[in-house]
């Protein structure tokens, strides 16, 4: 294809070299046709670096398994429930993506999210509730600043983020107890979310019609963006995936949208009460995914995050301010955790000091890694955390539905996480050997 600078002279590239190129370059980049695209993509799967589809395939397999074991699994009621469980895991996963891409980790956000949530709920307490946007702002700012400060310590003192944020986890738990004591002295270690906008994130839903309208508009917008970008690249004779691939991607997004709206719009009420519509939490997740994907994929900041994760020394020599980018990434991690804290509060209707902050954050890391975000930095996407978060949520939800308790839930999550890390490590080893 003429994406190349010039046609390579036939003898210039020896066959071995071409083979390794084909294996490692994304199919978007070098494929001319759908057939070639698939071929290259398959060769990349063998190299363990294949994007979202294997994760989706794994998700489908797990879903089929649970549906076979329990016909309730794919019922609308359970699926909406599943979306609810997945939403906060996904959000924690997206928070971790920012630091994982740098090759760092933030173990504190499970508790800092709860601290942020406590502040928000505190501000919303009757009889004089603060306007909810302000309460949300505080709830986001607290974990953002907390993680940002961790980032400062990691960069200035050059300490491993694992240790710094482990200390941060303990500190945040202490803070949570302290803040809760002040915010809700008689609450028995928990603070209630009163009905209102934030409670509606989970409790409320778009009307069925509004669900369709929003979905169609969103898919049309994303589809148009994809098409315009790819065709303008193709017109400028630049690297772009084949048209058929672009169309397939848009179709996949449309199908996902239709499925979500269909599920959401099915009546999941018991008896005479009608409960239907896509929960607002879905919108929150979609907006955050899109925003963070654009930030990582289309801005300098995002480019630098990947660059630092790939080769920090190269980034430094290119004049990138490593410390600034790292601190910013930690801050965004905390900010996203703050969003999680608020939707988690909405999910449970309260924030409690009994929150499993240490375990939740590990689920978030698992979501990212299962979704193909490398623990070594530099590889992975926000969408990966969404898919990975869904896999974790499906395992929990499905095993619960089968009447199995915490033990198999944790064991199976561990197995999947281990498998994902293995794939990640093998892929990395192979690509450094190449």
């Amino acid at each position: 294809m003429s994406t190349d600078v010039q046609e390579p002279p036939p003898e210039a590239a020896d066959p071995e070299e071409v083979a390794s190129e084909v294996a490692l370059a994304a199919p978007d980049v070098i494929a001319d046709s759908l057939g070639e695209y698939v071929k290259i993509w398959l060769s990349r799967i063998r190299n363990g670096d294949s994007g979202a589809l294997p994760v989706i395939a794994g998700l489908v397999v797990i879903v089929i398994y649970f549906q076979a074991r329990s016909s309730l699994f794919l019922s609308a009621g359970n699926l909406v429930n599943l979306i609810g469980q997945a939403a906060w895991i996904v959000m924690l996963g997206m928070a971790e993506v920012f630091v994982l891409l740098l090759g760092e980790i933030d173990l504190s956000i499970g508790y800092t999210a709860a601290v942020g949530g406590t502040f928000t709920l505190w501000l919303l307490l009757p009889p004089n509730p603060t306007p909810w946007p302000l309460a949300v702002l505080v709830g986001l700012a607290v974990p953002a600043i907390f993680s940002g400060l961790e980032g400062v310590i990691v960069t200035r003192l050059r300490l491993p983020s694992f240790v710094v944020t482990l200390a941060g986890q303990l500190l945040a738990f202490g803070l949570l107890l302290e803040v809760m004591e002040t915010a809700a002295p008689n609450g028995g270690g928990s603070i209630r979310l009163y009905p209102g906008v934030l409670a509606n994130i989970y409790a409320g839903a778009l009307s069925p019609l509004a669900g369709w309208i929003v979905m169609v508009a969103a898919v049309a917008l994303v589809g148009a963006l994809f098409l315009v970008r790819d065709t303008s690249k193709r017109r400028s004779n630049l690297t772009a995936p084949p048209l058929s691939v672009t169309v397939l991607k848009i179709a996949a997004i449309a199908v996902a949208g239709v499925v979500v709206v269909l599920i959401g719009n099915t009546n999941r009420g018991a008896g005479l009460t009608v409960v239907e519509g896509v929960p607002y939490v879905v919108l929150v997740v979609v907006v955050v995914v899109v925003a963070w994907s654009l930030l990582l994929g289309r801005t300098r900041f995002g480019r630098y995050v990947y660059a630092i994760g790939g080769n920090a020394e190269a980034a430094r020599r290119a004049g990138i301010n490593l410390n600034r980018i790292r601190v910013l990434a930690f801050t965004l991690c905390g900010l996203t955790a703050g969003i999680m804290g608020i939707i988690f509060a909405s999910y449970l209707g309260s924030v409690s000091t009994g929150v499993q902050g240490g375990q939740n954050v590990l689920l978030g890391v698992a979501a990212g890694v299962i979704g193909g975000v490398s623990l070594f930095g530099g590889r992975g996407k926000m969408v990966g955390a969404v898919l990975g978060g869904f896999i974790v949520a499906v395992i929990y939800n499905g095993l619960e539905l089968l009447g199995l308790g915490a033990a198999p839930q944790n064991i199976w999550t561990a197995v999947v996480l281990l498998a994902a890390v293995t794939v990640d490590t093998l892929a990395r080893r192979r690509s450094t050997a190449a």
Binding site: V5, Q6, D14, A25, K233, L238, T299, G310, N311, A434
Partner: protein
């Protein structure tokens, strides 16, 4: 320290000669006053070492000295780097090659001597100072991000932004153009990750990145060290292309075959001293080895290396 003219240590030279502005296209044409007075700047300071053709060298090192504690690494290095020529710096391990290029690229600051860039004395306190002048150094480890594609690597740190997002189309076009100018034809797509490239291709990307940043002087540190025969040829061709674009090139190398096939001038370092410098044609492999190991060569004794140059100091 990006504007060399603001040099208060030497008020007499400030604003003299080749316009103090941000050197517009100075590398392309000889500076105006050159024909009459090839060395107008600091007659007292600068030894009469200019090539006699009257062109001002792009870079002139004058009596550069550098010590690390008690260890004297460079002693009175005086060397001209002309435009459009490849200067090979050779020497045994520990001869001071790395220190010399790190001084030129702003990583180290010299203890003694001056660096004259396009006729004006400059002080390089950081790599940024050097790259702002147009000095690009391609280190042996290349400093590429394997996970990013070629375009992203070439623009790393200087991405173009349009409508609040990266101008991928513009950058891809520019990257392709630069690679085409350098006749880098073996990469299959500029959107493949650098990790999937061969050693020679990676070198080419690193060099292309330097060129795209309007480098006037490209320093290559052991560019062929890890490469096979075919790849080496690719890189040597690339160096010749640089030269033909009127870029000054310094090549550090151990490989005398490569040096001889590509260099116009050869500078030999030994134990921190410049023992010989002159047109490449004056040296053959044996004489270079002699110079590298003993500091002198009988084979050259009769031939003065350069009218003024070489000054074998012992």
């Amino acid at each position: 320290m990006t504007t060399p003219s603001a040099d208060d240590a030497r008020p007499a030279t400030a604003g003299r000669a080749s316009a103090p502005g941000p050197e517009p296209s100075a590398s392309q044409q000889p500076d105006a006053p050159a024909p009459s007075t090839p060395e107008p700047e600091n007659p007292a300071e600068v030894p009469t070492q200019a090539p006699s053709n009257g062109d001002q060298p792009l870079l002139r090192l004058v009596d550069i000295g550098k010590s690390f504690g008690p260890v004297r690494v460079l002693t009175k290095i005086t060397l001209d780097i002309p435009i459009g020529q490849v200067t090979a710096v050779v020497g045994d391990n520990g001869a001071g090659k790395s220190t010399l290029i790190k001084t030129i690229s702003g990583i180290y600051t010299q203890d003694e001597g001056q660096i004259i860039w396009q006729g004006r004395q400059v002080h390089l306190h950081s790599p940024k100072d050097a790259s702002d002048l147009g000095i690009a150094t391609v280190y042996q480890d290349l400093a590429l991000c394997d996970n990013l594609d070629i375009v992203a690597n070439m623009f790393l740190g200087r991405e173009e932004v349009k409508h609040f997002q990266l101008d991928e189309i513009g950058m891809e076009k520019a990257a392709k153009q630069t690679l085409a100018d350098l006749s880098v034809v073996t990469v299959r797509s500029v959107r493949q990750p650098v990790g999937s490239l061969s050693g020679g291709q990676r070198q080419a990307v690193a060099v292309a990145r330097a060129v795209m940043r309007q480098a006037k002087l490209v320093i290559l540190d052991e560019p062929t060290a890890a490469l096979g025969v075919t790849q080496t040829r690719v890189v040597l061709d690339l160096i010749k292309r640089l030269k033909s674009q009127n870029i000054a090139v310094i090549v550090i190398s151990h490989n005398l075959n490569d040096v001889q096939s590509v260099a116009d001038r050869i500078a030999v370092l030994r134990l921190g001293r410049l023992v010989a410098v002159g047109p490449a044609a004056q040296y053959d492999a044996e004489s270079i080895v002699d110079l590298m190991t003993t500091g002198t060569s009988k084979r050259l004794a009769a031939v003065p290396a350069e009218p003024s140059g070489s000054s074998s100091e012992h």
